[in-house]
Subunit: 174 residues, 2 copies
């Protein structure tokens, strides 16, 4: 299915498609978008589990030595997107790529969560902001040297700092 996709020349975005398969399922207390924290920092008390399917469990070796992991997942609710969205933290429309809104051209979600322990292919995690039943696509170790640059400027979000931690989602998530 992925054709002419190796290198720049001949790359045809119309013909190529990248097919992903879930490697697990995320289980959380949040069964509907309403009332869910919109980011992990707003969900310090929320505990959940990440079930990794049996064929992939060997890939979890050594992961439990990390305190935090990056989860990549499929925003499986909703099938459409808008290039302009009004974020939870704002009242003005913003470009979708300047937001963390779930309805995106490629509906990929990313959360940095705290890893408590791993038992039999189940990750026990804190700071969860993910809907119950969400398909898991990838797990990466969180490494500040790679993932946390210094001297960061956060644009429109800077104006609403402090309120993010307590905001919860509304129907815009679906």
């Amino acid at each position: 299915m992925v054709q002419g996709n190796d290198g720049v020349a001949g790359f045809d975005k119309e013909e190529s498609g990248i097919v992903l398969t879930p490697i697990g399922t995320i289980h959380s207390p949040f069964t509907s978008p309403e009332g869910m924290p919109i980011q992990p920092t707003g969900a310090a008390a929320a505990i959940g589990t990440v079930e990794v399917f049996e064929p992939y469990r060997a890939g979890l070796k050594d992961l439990d030595s990390f305190s935090h992991v990056i989860l990549l997942y499929h925003f499986h609710r909703g099938s459409s997107f808008n290039l302009s969205v009004i974020p939870f933290m704002d009242t003005e429309p913003r470009g979708v790529f300047a937001t963390r809104a779930p309805r995106r051209p490629n509906p990929l979600g990313l959360s940095v969560v705290q890893l408590e322990r791993i038992e039999e292919g189940i990750l026990y995690i804190r700071n969860l902001d993910i809907l119950d039943g969400t398909p898991l696509l990838d797990i990466k170790p969180y490494v500040p040297e790679f993932d946390a640059p210094a001297e960061v400027r956060t644009g429109w979000i800077a104006q609403s700092r402090g309120s993010v931690a307590t905001r919860i989602a509304d129907e815009r998530f679906s």
Copy 2:
């Protein structure tokens, strides 16, 4: 193609597949994996561009107010993976999910890069550790409150800290 994927009940990992379409192309000085920095921190001097395809450019509004962005992309070289890999920074085999190796069950790449400016759908970026011609899947604003937890422990990588910044890739990338 995505069937029975809305919610937990009836979710069948065998039947479901998630199809993504590139929204752009990443251009960099790195035309082959050999000699490429293995992480953005090792590539402070490397400058590149991210070309967002015309239909998606409206989604870039307001992104230029952020100093850093998260790029999600397709590791398009190589089509297989191993659940156990020997990372660049190590001599022991580790579980693939405890590494940032490109050959993963779902070949999704993630880099936090510094955004210099945006002009006509082209992002000019620094700290680039991505191969030329890599298909872009998503762009998210980098927000420390969401993405940079405190009190982080980095497992096996901690032992090799300091060396990551200057390491370059070898044939294991392909």
